[in-house]
């Protein structure tokens, strides 16, 4: 077991983990952050995407010990004081989710995209989220949500 110290959605945690524990399993099973989900085992689907120290990462491809000392934001940390973030609001307004399983990771990916490119073209959005798979929406409304979030200044 290895001791790690990190912040998740603004709260400090200090836990013992097996060195092989993936960040996503740590978040779900030890911290209780069940909003972040596991959709595959090859880092293709992006459902587990979180923000680690300002970088978007697939938390199934990061060891928990690598997040030691880090600052993690998950889908559960996006809304502030009950107010949805611009990306969350845009997903709701544009019907950008159906079953909602890919949504946590998809929103984290859009958030990261807009941070790096506040006014992306449609092609840039599509390329920017290609590491996140959705089986329900055909992506049309996810692209629209990203455009709406950009217009609302989601990167601000």
């Amino acid at each position: 077991m290895t001791k790690i110290n990190l912040k998740v959605d603004g709260v400090a945690y200090s836990d013992d983990v097996e060195p092989r524990t993936l960040l996503v399993h740590y978040l779900r099973e030890q911290v209780g952050k069940i909003g972040t989900v596991v959709g595959c085992d090859t880092s293709n689907c992006g459902a587990c995407t979180v923000d680690l120290d300002g970088q978007s990462v697939k938390s199934c491809t990061v060891l928990a010990v690598q997040a030691d000392g880090g600052d993690v934001t998950t889908v559960e940390g996006l809304a502030e004081n009950g107010t949805l973030s611009a990306v969350q609001q845009a997903f709701h307004d544009n019907h950008a989710l159906q079953c909602g399983f890919c949504t946590p990771g998809m929103m984290m990916a859009v958030r990261d995209l807009l941070k790096n490119n506040p006014n992306p073209s449609e092609d840039e959005i599509r390329e920017g989220i290609e590491g996140n798979l959705c089986r329900c929406t055909g992506y049309v409304n996810i692209v629209r949500a990203a455009q709406a979030a950009a217009a609302a200044g989601a990167n601000a």
């Binding site: 097996e18 779900r28 952050k33 069940i34 909003g35 972040t36 989900v37 596991v38 959709g39 595959c40 085992d41 090859t42 293709n44 689907c45 459902a47 998950t74 889908v75 559960e76 996006l78 809304a79 949805l84 969350q88 997903f91 709701h92 307004d93 019907h95 989710l97 159906q98 079953c99 909602g100 399983f101 890919c102 949504t103 946590p104 929103m107 449609e122 959005i125 599509r126 390329e127 989220i129 290609e130 590491g131 996140n132 798979l133 959705c134 089986r135 329900c136 929406t137 055909g138 992506y139 049309v140 409304n141 996810i142 692209v143």
Partner: protein, 814 residues
């Protein structure tokens, strides 16, 4: 008691979804999120062999691994496990039974051979490697046509052959048209084609998961399922547990697309183990486990003959299918082709029709429903054949369709397959689609690019589809040998404060029932959208239902809501008459209030009536103090959405790469309840249909191993692979339900696949290409263009399916 303001109708409004908030904030209830005190974790050991006798399973070492509480093999459950059910049982169906865990033989790679229960998921997974299984290999059975030959290796030792059934419909015998042989004998033109519906994987985003808690004489099960009600009944029947001791909960379910219509082996095994150990257990699959062992879809060989007159009038359609069931008959697997049996004739006025489906066992993962289930295959075949006929006759493919389709004034129309279509307007949908597409301009551009030998050729594809939705009239299902009806249940509970609880037996997994059903009930009762709560997916709160599949939730479940609401209103009318001191006959109900006709100043609202009824102080003599009502609605017919889908592709003839440039569809799904949700369903459906055309295939090697067992190899399209679709609607109300709705869940998937392939073939006609096998990867397209034997080369890279595409016109090879 004052007059209420005129309220705007909820039906037709693009309401944002009630479902969203918990999903976008991460407060979800996926089955895998459930943790119970003392819960054990389950891991499955799966066969690496496609076909083998199990000579021994040694679990001794695994039992001593850290955290392991129990190891179970087929021997432990050989008597208790029963057989997984098949809900379709026509006379003569060969069914050797379907074990949840293999006892002495494995019949596909991925079949469960042992199960570990441990204190943590990691410990369960770790201990799998300590189980020793000795296999004696048997020959893999992979090719359907070889599998039914005399002397072929058999999948199941107890059956006489690998043939499961032959199911036939013929219009002459059925009295719905002329005999097919007559059409064939008198044909001026005959087109024969073989199409391959490749094996697909539903690939819902939420991996399957099950939690089972033993309680008293039974269990409570949480499961990622589309069918909590059917599962409850069949789990009880399979394991001999009394049905009333089984509670099934479908919490948040992350997509299904048919893939979660199952009584899963894992659900049965988790139940057995939870009861054996008397502890709650959880099993959640990995993605590779899901792709390998959750049921697959499609996998048919279609041999199609179309007969016509030289003027383009179609006369006969003769369909033969080989349908691969994989190793076992699963819940609806063998019936899937039959769900398409009545749709091959589609929107066209064929005089004669024959459909023959033959089901075959192979040593592959079992197949069952996948979005569309039978109807995508039917639509693909007939829409491809119409293009082939147009090419043969040198006619415009849309003109050929117009010549043969049912005109809007001919509805209701009884087809050569014996179904009566409710309504539609193929002309209007097509005209709108052509305009949105800019069709004529694209045709001009195509001609211009052909003339200058542009290396990137433009292709235009059409699909004018229909489907049957609203599964289904119970009598029809009975006549087709299904073991269940097709009704749906709804109940409405009027609370004291005027809020409304609605219980539906339909069970959503992303469709937006809570929003759309709230809109329906709000309009029926004249209450606010936000005052309606839709409950579903728990057999304790929703005791009756037949769940969600086959685009049935709205057309059947929505119609049930209306029936229940009518009963509530009838009871409320009695209370209103009492309060207003008027005769019930003199009351009118509008905007959620009863008033005396002619004196609208005096009225009483549903909220007032609900509270009065709750108090019970002042009700009509003899009336029970409740407005609540149930309804179980059995449809009298299917509904028949239709639409015109148009696809433009750029095909790079030097690389074989296909890019969808524009996709337009005009769908008629009847009366729209929520346009936002409809559009979302169409978008997602299109993506899956396009994925069949261009991207996805479950491939087996010659030893029977699935070689596309991860998302690296089974290539779901990403946002970068798809365009923004142009969607629009035309509207003709269904005449068979009170809402006028038709269903939309499967439309995009059913329609889009042939539109894409027709577009690719259209681009490549100048190269002599008449077919490209799906998925039309760059390699297949390139080989179709550049190969010497075009049709054969077009199939390069696929797994063994038995023979090249036949390509015969007027009796001779072209």
């Amino acid at each position: 008691m004052t007059a209420v303001e005129q309220r705007a109708a909820e039906i037709g409004q693009a309401r944002k979804r009630k479902e969203d908030h918990h999903l976008i904030t991460g407060r979800t209830t996926w089955t895998d999120n459930t943790t119970l005190p003392g819960m054990l974790h389950i891991a499955m050991l799966r066969s690496p062999m496609a076909h083998a006798r199990i000579s021994s399973v040694d679990a001794t070492e695994a039992k001593s691994r850290p955290g392991v509480v129990g190891v179970f093999t087929g021997q432990d459950f050989k008597d208790a496990q029963g057989s997984l059910p098949c809900a379709w049982a026509p006379d003569g169906l060969v069914n050797p039974g379907t074990p949840s865990i293999a006892v002495d033989q494995v019949n596909f790679a991925g079949e469960i051979v042992a199960v570990i229960a441990a204190r943590s998921k990691a410990e369960a997974q770790d201990a799998l490697e300590a189980i020793e299984v000795d296999y004696d290999p048997l020959p893999a059975v992979l090719n359907m046509e070889d599998a039914v030959k005399d002397g072929a290796d058999r999948v199941h030792p107890a059956t006489e052959s690998n043939k499961i059934y032959t199911w036939e419909f013929e219009s002459g015998a059925a009295g719905t048209g002329i005999p097919i042989q007559e059409a064939i004998d008198t044909a001026e033109v005959t087109i024969q084609r073989r199409f391959i519906q490749q094996r697909l994987i539903p690939a819902f985003m939420e991996p399957r998961s099950t939690v089972v808690q033993p309680i008293g004489e039974g269990v409570t099960m949480w499961s990622s399922t589309q069918i909590p009600h059917i599962l409850r009944t069949l789990l009880a029947a399979t394991l001999g547990i009394a049905e009333h001791h089984v509670r099934v909960i479908a919490p948040d379910v992350g997509g299904g697309f048919g893939g979660k219509i199952a009584v899963m082996p894992e659900e049965v095994l988790c139940t057995l183990i939870a009861r054996t150990l008397n502890k709650p257990v959880k099993w959640t699959e990995s993605r590779s486990e899901s792709l390998l062992s959750a049921h697959h879809g499609r996998d048919q060989i279609q041999d199609i003959t179309l007969t016509a007159k030289r003027d383009g009038t179609v006369t006969g359609l003769d369909v033969h299918l080989w349908a691969d069931m994989g190793a076992y008959n699963r819940l609806f697997g063998p019936s899937v082709p039959v769900l398409g049996a009545f749709m091959y004739n589609a929107i066209y006025k064929f005089a004669a029709y024959r459909f023959v489906s033959e089901g075959v066992f192979t040593t592959k993962t079992p197949t069952d429903a996948y979005r569309g289930a039978g109807r995508p295959e039917a639509t693909f075949a007939v829409e491809r054949m119409m293009d082939e006929l147009a090419n043969e006759l040198d006619m415009d493919p849309m003109d050929l369709r117009r010549k043969n389709w049912i005109a809007h004034e001919e509805f209701p129309f009884t087809t050569v397959a014996g179904l009566t279509y409710d309504s539609g307007n193929y002309e209007a949908a097509t005209d709108k689609a052509l305009e949105l597409m800019g069709w004529d301009d694209l045709r001009r551009e195509q001609a211009e690019r052909r003339n200058r030998n542009d290396p990137v050729q433009l292709g235009l594809g059409i699909s004018t589809f229909t489907e049957m939705c609203g599964l289904a009239p119970s009598r029809v299902l009975g006549s087709l040998a299904f073991g269940a009806g097709g009704w749906e249940h709804a109940s409405i509970r009027m609370l004291a404060t005027g809020k409304v609880e609605v219980v539906t037996g339909s069970s959503p997994h992303g469709q937006g029932h809570e929003t759309a059903f709230s809109q329906i009930v709000a309009d029926q009762l004249g209450v606010a959208f936000d005052d309606v709560e839709i409950l579903h997916g728990d057999t304790q709160s929703s005791p009756k239902g037949l769940d969600s599949y086959g685009s049935r939730s709205l057309a059947v479940g929505g119609a049930a809501l209306v029936k229940a609401a009518e009963k509530v209103i009838d009871k409320a009318r009695q209370v209103a008459a009492h309060l207003l001191e008027a005769s019930e006959d003199d009351l009118e109900f509008q905007n959620g209030s009863f008033s005396v006709k002619g004196s609208p100043g005096s009225s009483v609202s549903m909220g007032d009536i609900a509270f009065t009824t709750f108090l019970g102080h002042n009700l009509p003599d003899g009336m029970e103090p409740s407005l609540d009502a149930d309804a179980t609605y059995d449809p009298i017919n299917f509904s028949f959405p239709h639409g015109t889908h148009l696809c433009a592709v750029d095909v790079d003839t030097e690389t074989g790469f296909t890019k969808i440039r524009k996709y337009v569809c005009v769908d008629d799904v009847g009366v729209p309840i929520n346009p936002l949700i409809i559009e979302g369903q169409v978008h997602g459906g299109l993506a899956q249909g396009i994925a069949q055309a261009l991207y996805e295939e479950a491939v087996y090697d010659d030893a029977g191993n699935l070689t596309t067992g991860t998302f690296v190899d089974y290539t779901l399209p990403s946002a970068a692979d798809l365009p923004t679709f142009t969607t629009a609607r035309n509207e003709t109300a269904s005449t068979y339900n009170d809402l006028g709705v038709k269903g939309v869940g499967e439309a995009g998937t059913i329609a889009s696949t042939p539109a894409v392939i027709n577009a690719i073939v259209d681009a490549l006609r100048p190269f002599g290409v008449n077919d490209v096998q799906m998925p039309a990867t760059p390699e297949r397209v390139w080989r179709a263009i550049h190969g010497a034997e075009k049709s054969d080369r077009a199939q390069y890279g696929t797994n063994a399916y038995g023979g090249p595409s036949t390509n015969t016109v007027d009796g001779g090879p072209s």
